[in-house]
């Protein structure tokens, strides 16, 4: 590395240290995001407020209501006396689920007919209604099996599917969210910071002075991104530590491997920002372009929604985002403890992004004013 890289690096470092607001945002974002996603966002919906209308009031009806409540999906907030009261509770927003046991339930059960109960859900929120439906179906299934087995004179069930959730036995959201969050936070802050880097100098009139010096384009670009590599590694460490000690997320695999690949991803993100910086004329434009890139990164990378569920076009778009590949690495190493042999295709792609983007940024940048 040529000697002119270091003065550039030192200058960027001093400026970064003096910019209290940006610094606060860079170090505040990981903590706030983690707490937000970790505590607030739970995809397994439980304790849905529920009203109950028990028209039969018999041991059999109380039994099925208790079984539903025991799934943990429903939290009974009130017993009502007529059907309009259920609608009223829904309209007020007090309840999101209703359980209705008709008067003929115990009679049908006793005669060997199909005994029906109704579970009504507020499907304007698909996630919680799905959880309620699954719980209700599960309870009914269980009850059916018990009755049928007894009728057939068996004590055991003929078939059972035993599901073993590997890598995340408790099916906990934080285990899935926290590793992804490392990637998301790095994308958000690293791209935005360097997207401002060149335009800021242009707007302040210092770029003209800089390009009249013998510094090379590569020295300028590398000097600009290098100090932020440290910031990225710090952010990542903060998220991992909080994830480990606040949310009990296991860190299974090799941290050396994780940090090595993350370094590549950080450089790729910084280079992308730098590239954006060479495309735009003002800081405002660079901000807009960064956000334009950020939204698909959140939605299509597999951070929040599974990519398998997306139409092929959007899966391809997702492949064009560095975060998509990095998420596989993060979850692979942190949850499954895999080694380089499992993730090398992603690593190759990330190295490609990093090298390609930095070359692109250097090519786009000209040491002239026109």
């Amino acid at each position: 590395m040529n000697s002119r890289f270091w003065p550039m690096f030192r200058k960027e470092f001093i400026q970064m240290r003096r910019d209290r607001l940006t610094l606060g945002i860079m170090f505040g974002i990981p903590v706030i995001q983690l707490l937000m996603f970790g505590f607030a966002i739970q995809t397994d919906v439980r304790h849905i407020p529920t009203v109950v209308l028990d028209e039969s009031r018999t041991p059999a009806s109380r039994d099925i209501i208790a079984a539903l409540e025991n799934t943990g999906s429903f939290r009974i907030i009130a017993y009502v006396n007529d059907r309009p009261s259920i609608d009223a509770a829904f309209s007020r927003g007090a309840a999101q689920a209703g359980i209705l046991v008709p008067a003929d339930y115990p009679r049908n059960l006793g005669r060997g007919l199909t005994a029906t109960i109704q579970v009504i859900v507020d499907a304007s929120d698909p996630l919680s209604s799905q959880s309620a439906l699954a719980a209700a179906a599960g309870v009914a299934q269980m009850r059916n099996l018990e009755i049928l087995a007894a009728a057939a004179g068996r004590r055991t069930l003929p078939v059972e599917a035993r599901v073993r959730p590997r890598y995340n036995p408790g099916l906990r959201s934080p285990n899935y969210i926290v590793p992804g969050l490392v990637g998301l936070i790095l994308t958000m802050t690293m791209v935005l910071i360097t997207a401002m880097a060149i335009v800021r100098e242009r707007e302040r009139g210092t770029l003209e002075q800089l390009i009249v010096t013998p510094i090379t384009k590569t020295e300028l670009m590398l000097g600009k991104i290098a100090p932020y590599v440290g910031v990225g590694l710090f952010q990542m460490t903060a998220v991992l530590l909080l994830g480990r000690f606040v949310f009990d997320v296991p860190l299974v695999g090799s941290l050396w491997l994780l940090y090595g690949v993350s370094l590549v991803f950080i450089v790729a993100s910084l280079s992308l920002g730098l590239f954006i910086s060479t495309l735009v004329r003002t800081q405002q434009q660079s901000m807009q372009m960064s956000f334009f890139f950020m939204l698909p990164s959140i939605l299509l990378s597999g951070f929040m929604f599974p990519r398998q569920a997306m139409p092929p076009l959007f899966q391809w778009i997702g492949l064009a985002l560095p975060l998509t590949h990095f998420l596989l690495v993060l979850r692979g190493i942190l949850l499954k403890g895999v080694g380089l042999s499992a993730i090398w295709p992603q690593v190759v792609v990330l190295v490609g992004f990093a090298v390609g983007l930095i070359v692109l940024a250097v090519r786009r940048f000209h040491k002239t004013l026109d």
């Binding site: 000697s3 002119r4 003065p7 200058k11 003209e208 800089l210 390009i211 013998p214 004013l369």
Partner: protein, 246 residues
């Protein structure tokens, strides 16, 4: 007579249909303080930017400190100091940090860098009080100008380009600044300076008057006034400005 420090040959620059500089030819001698004079839009800044390698000439060329600006624009950059109208200082760096940064970018390091910075600080009187630890943003116009000159001088460039260096600076600071310019010229530095101020133009060894991209007069301040057809340089300038803007 040795070869000129700046040898401009038929230099032309067009922006679309506008010709900002048209076939400019002139020589600036070593150790000379040479003034480029002319109303707004006459092509002074475009000329300086081409000589610094910031703009590519449409045709023609120039040789600066023995290097052709078209053939080796990056090598020219090691031989020149440049001070723009906006000074190009970092507001969030201190005076000392600005100097150290630009020195480093020009390839100075270690002892060489610290020694040279303190030399420039002494030369321009930047060391008084807590000046060195003040941020760029806290400096007055005059101090900013001095610091900008200091940053352009660190690598001892044989040729110095100053684009309206005294715009928005008070008269006392301007006088100090010109004293420094003449000191540098006596020590052998060639200085090309653009200006709006007639009293500054009078302080130049030679002048070139430009109008709408053309060179219209060249010589000592008195010669130029005579060539343009005014009693004084100021008369000549005003006549020219009215003609260009009319």
């Amino acid at each position: 007579m040795s070869e000129p420090a700046v040898d401009i040959r038929d230099l032309t620059r067009r922006f679309g249909v506008v010709t900002a500089v048209s076939s400019l030819t002139l020589q600036i001698n070593r150790g000379e303080v040479f003034g480029l004079l002319g109303p707004n839009g006459s092509g002074k800044t475009t000329t300086i930017r081409m000589l610094c390698g910031l703009l590519e000439p449409t045709s023609g060329t120039a040789v600066v400190a023995g290097i052709d600006i078209r053939a080796a624009p990056e090598r020219v950059k090691t031989q020149i100091g440049y001070m723009s109208q906006r000074f190009g200082l970092y507001d969030d760096l201190t005076v000392a940090e600005n100097l150290t940064f630009y020195g480093g970018i020009y390839g100075l390091m270690g002892r060489g860098l610290t020694d040279r910075v303190s030399e420039v600080v002494t030369f321009l009187g930047l060391g008084g009080g807590h000046r060195l630890t003040q941020l760029g943003a806290e400096l007055s116009g005059g101090w900013k100008q001095r610091l900008a000159l200091g940053c352009a001088l660190l690598h001892r460039p044989p040729v110095l380009f100053l684009d309206e260096p005294t715009a928005g600076v008070d008269p006392a600071a301007r006088r100090n600044f010109w004293r420094a310019i003449h000191d540098l010229a006596h020590a052998g530095t060639t200085v090309l300076v653009t200006t709006h101020y007639m009293d500054e133009a009078e302080r130049c060894d030679r002048l070139a008057m430009m109008s709408l991209g053309h060179l219209i007069a060249l010589g000592t301040p008195a010669d130029v006034a005579r060539q343009v057809g005014g009693q004084t340089l100021e008369d000549a300038f005003i006549v020219l400005q009215e003609r260009d803007e009319g």
